[in-house]
Amino acid sequence: MELLSAITEFAAREPKIYGLIIGLVAAAILASVINVVAMLLVWLERKVMGDLQARYGPNRVGGRWGVLQLGADAIKLFTKEDIIPRGADKSVYVWAPIVAVATTMLIAGALPFGAVIIDGREVPLVVANMDISALYVEAVLSLMAIGAFMAGYSSNNKYSMLGAFRGVARMIAYEVPMGVCVISVAVMAHSLNLVEIVNAQQNIWFAVAQPLGFVIFGIALITDLGRMPFDQTEAEEEIIAGYNTEYSGIRFGLLYFQEYIVMLLGSILLVLLFLGGWKGPVIPVISFISPMIWFFMKLLIVLVALIWIRVSLPRFRIDQVTDLGWKILLPLSLVNFVWAVAVGLYFA
């Protein structure tokens, strides 16, 4: 208690330094939590995929359910030889995985990870509660192609290069409809703050209020995540492994892991923008964490849906992907924008 009051006093006296320290601590906690959850996500994906395909999935390391399989994989990746191919652009090659992971982790700072109820008041769990966090997340999402591009360019390999090309072309095509969808949501919620957007969904989810936007955003999100049916950047049957063909050891581990971190964060964004975030009926006995329970249930459903889509659809061709983005999703997202404005004005 003494410590707590001392901290409060310090915070009042030196808000800037306090903010800096709290920010750094929160960022460290966030980074570790995200990494652990993303690891669990890899395990979840393997397990769900196994169930969907009538096989077992990991079942040896870490008990019957193979929970520690990814730990074993990580150790393997750490101990593997780190190869830098001859003719590679060394500095870019080394920096690419770091840039990829860093740009991804930037998103995490602005996302609320659920909320808890203290004294009958919802307190969102967010590191940086910015006024424009939705726009910020959207902006940083567009950076992800750069890490992949650097990896593909520097590997000095035709297939890596093709993967990088595809990634950039796809990103440009889908960033626009995705942004328009985010703006439509912001128009309806009268705010770009993710917490406010969630609060605006107290009565009706935006997935219901603008179903078209939900579908477009979902498709664009899957594309940004680079998951089936939009994983042309690393279509192993066509261009070996795309931009991470030449990577090995822990650098490959980082690139691989980045995909799962971004899958996690992207799903959280979808839940926040369209599925009402942590809103839901208060569960009586454990009302303290009932928003968290709702939030994670929704998140789990979205993640499993993503895995499900992955195992049940064949891959698009890259020109079909960009066609879909420019010719179908972009006009539709504009229609959705008009709809959002009209409905927003009508109810306002």
Binding site: G87, V92, L135, A139, S142, I146, Y153, N157, M161
Partner: protein, 99 residues
């Protein structure tokens, strides 16, 4: 006149430090952009300079401008530049492909 006493104030030092780091980053990236003989490297340095400018905006309490800087300059302009550079002839990049 600069009040020397304020240099002992840690808040001022923090602001000054943040600004100095960002200034060095912006200038460094900009100079590297111009000096670099590899076009792709130059484009990547340019992205770094854009990102530093965005951070500078945020440190000046203009976070909206900062985010728009990221969205427009890095997300759109920068990536388009990268795309254009990749579409140039390989000999301009002065590299041989082994792939």
């Amino acid at each position: 006149m600069i009040d020397l006493a304020q240099f002992y104030d840690i808040r001022f030092l923090m602001d000054l430090g943040a600004f100095s780091i960002l200034a060095v980053l912006i200038l460094g990236f900009s100079i590297l952009t111009v000096w670099s003989s590899n076009m792709v490297h130059a484009a990547l340095y340019l992205l770094g300079a854009f990102a530093s400018v965005a951070m500078l905006y945020v440190s000046l309490n203009a976070s909206f401008v900062g985010v728009v800087q990221v969205l427009v300059y890095i997300g759109a302009v920068g990536v388009l530049i990268l795309f254009a550079v990749m579409l140039t002839r390989r000999t301009l990049v002065e590299e041989e492909s082994h792939g």
